[in-house]
């Protein structure tokens, strides 16, 4: 279970208002929470502070292990955040995958060609970057996946296999927090729906 207690993102200076108002949330193993809301409402910010990428106050724990008691890199390997824009730090795709064999075995499942790891990053489309980014995340075998619009660049034929992969992980107990504007995807994946607006988390109305 992922337990979030009074998690907030203060303003950059003491006089600034908080960017994220205190969030309290419990997410059970295998549960998928879909976050929606207007742009700038704080959806990405919430995922970032759960992953401890931005300064924050409050506490987050995973299966009763407090985040503050473990080094941040160890936490982030268990609670992986995938930003909307997948980042690349080398020119070729392969460098981004420490276990290339494992990565190659996943390529066909998300509709990518067998030699995709040999491509330069510069030739990847947004959708290809998102799918390769997802493989990178999945290969860490995280217990929580914080996914920020991971399928916004995909059409239905490539999106459904990705959702199948996510559902398999959820069945295995992985927690998914998904930001999406796709109402059909929300219906297919959400166990619970929530909404972020003005830096505040509220349960979504049906």
């Amino acid at each position: 279970m992922l337990k979030i207690e009074q998690l907030s993102r203060p303003g950059n200076t003491p006089v600034d208002p908080p960017m994220l108002k205190p969030v309290n949330l419990e997410i059970a193993s295998g549960e998928c929470i879909v976050l929606s809301g207007p742009s700038g409402g704080g959806k990405s910010l919430l995922l970032r502070v759960i992953a401890d990428l931005d300064p924050n106050t409050g506490e987050v724990s995973l299966n009763n292990e407090a985040r503050s008691r473990m080094p941040a890199p160890a936490w982030r390997r268990r609670v992986v955040y995938q930003p909307a824009e997948t980042g690349w730090w080398a020119d070729d795709v392969a460098t981004h995958f420490p276990d290339q064999q494992a990565a190659e075995s996943m390529l066909p499942r998300i509709g990518l060609e067998d030699d995709a790891l040999n491509w330069p990053v510069s030739r990847l489309s947004t959708g290809e970057k998102q799918r390769l980014g997802l493989i990178r995340t999945l290969l860490l075998a995280p217990e929580v996946m914080l996914l920020d619009e991971p399928t916004s660049g995909l059409d239905l034929s490539t999106l459904l296999p990705v959702e199948t992969l996510l559902r398999e992980r959820m069945d295995a107990g992985v927690i998914v927090v998904l930001v999406t504007h796709d109402s059909e995807q929300t219906k297919r994946l959400a166990c619970r729906r929530m909404r972020m607006a003005d830096g505040e988390l509220i349960a979504a109305r049906d």
Partner: protein, 265 residues
């Protein structure tokens, strides 16, 4: 020792060359003529003033006056280094980081040179201390400002790539290594290039100055080599200090990239 003294007409005649540059700028609509005139005026006024200050300092030969002049030089270098950066830290860090690292590096290396190689007597003898600090400081300032500029703008530009590694569990030192390496390389390259070209492409200013003043070329060369070593040492020390401290300030104990500590561009 003999040298040819210049009168003011000689200098005014040479100033015509700058006027030619300004004319070109006007003719080609470069829009640089105003900056050129201001820079020229600044150079003339600043050098004239420093000439008078040095004259007074040499006459006084006091450790306090010499020390004060050195501090003023370092404070100006800090301001100049800060002005050359596109991205800056917020608050006192912006000025303090560059100035502090330059002060430490330039003073250590100048002290080393004065006490161990030049054996100036007394050690604060302004005729040695001030020019040597000036040469070391000028080059250290270049290295520090280039290094800091590359680090801060690089971290800002590569934010997505750096965070892509952090979210997969990399530590911040690993994620920032390419940006840090680039900043250190960029800061050191002018010094390396300067040493490579010395004597072949360029005749360094100090050596040329000594030769014009009547010093034997071999003696002038020995001085120049010593200064090159001191410059390389000062630049490296200042650059490593500035980039290492800035790297720490750009991150925190939770392995985050703290771009919120940079002022808005």
């Amino acid at each position: 020792m003999s040298f040819i003294t210049l009168n003011y007409w000689d200098i005014a005649l040479a100033a015509l060359l700058v006027a030619v540059n300004a004319g070109l700028s006007i003719a080609m609509h470069l829009g640089l003529e105003k900056r050129l005139v201001i820079a020229t005026a600044r150079m003339v006024v600043q050098l004239t003033l420093i000439g008078l200050v040095l004259k007074a300092l040499f006459a006084a030969a006091s450790p306090w006056f010499t020390g004060f002049a050195m501090v003023v030089m370092i404070l100006f270098a800090g301001r100049e280094a800060m002005a050359r950066q596109d991205r800056k830290f917020t608050g006192l860090w912006s000025y303090g980081l560059g100035t502090g690292s330059m002060m430490a590096a330039a003073l250590i290396v100048t002290g080393f040179g004065l006490m161990t190689q030049l054996h100036a007597d007394p050690w604060y003898e302004p005729r040695y201390a001030i020019p040597i600090l000036g040469m070391i400081l000028g080059n250290t300032m270049n290295g520090v400002s280039i290094g800091l500029d590359r680090l801060l703008s690089g971290a800002n530009r590569e934010r997505i790539a750096i965070e892509a590694q952090l979210v997969l569990g990399a530590n911040i030192a690993t994620a920032m290594r390419p940006v840090v390496r680039d900043a250190l390389r960029a800061g050191l390259i002018p010094t390396i290039n300067g040493m490579s070209a010395a004597g072949l492409v360029s005749l360094p200013g100090m050596m040329t100055g000594q030769i014009l003043a009547g010093v034997a070329p071999v003696e002038a060369v020995k001085y120049q080599i010593l200064i090159m070593f001191l410059i390389a040492g000062g630049t490296g020390l200042g650059l490593f200090t500035a980039v290492s401290v800035a790297r720490r300030r750009l991150t925190d104990t939770r392995d985050r990239l703290r771009l919120d500590r940079l002022a808005a561009a």
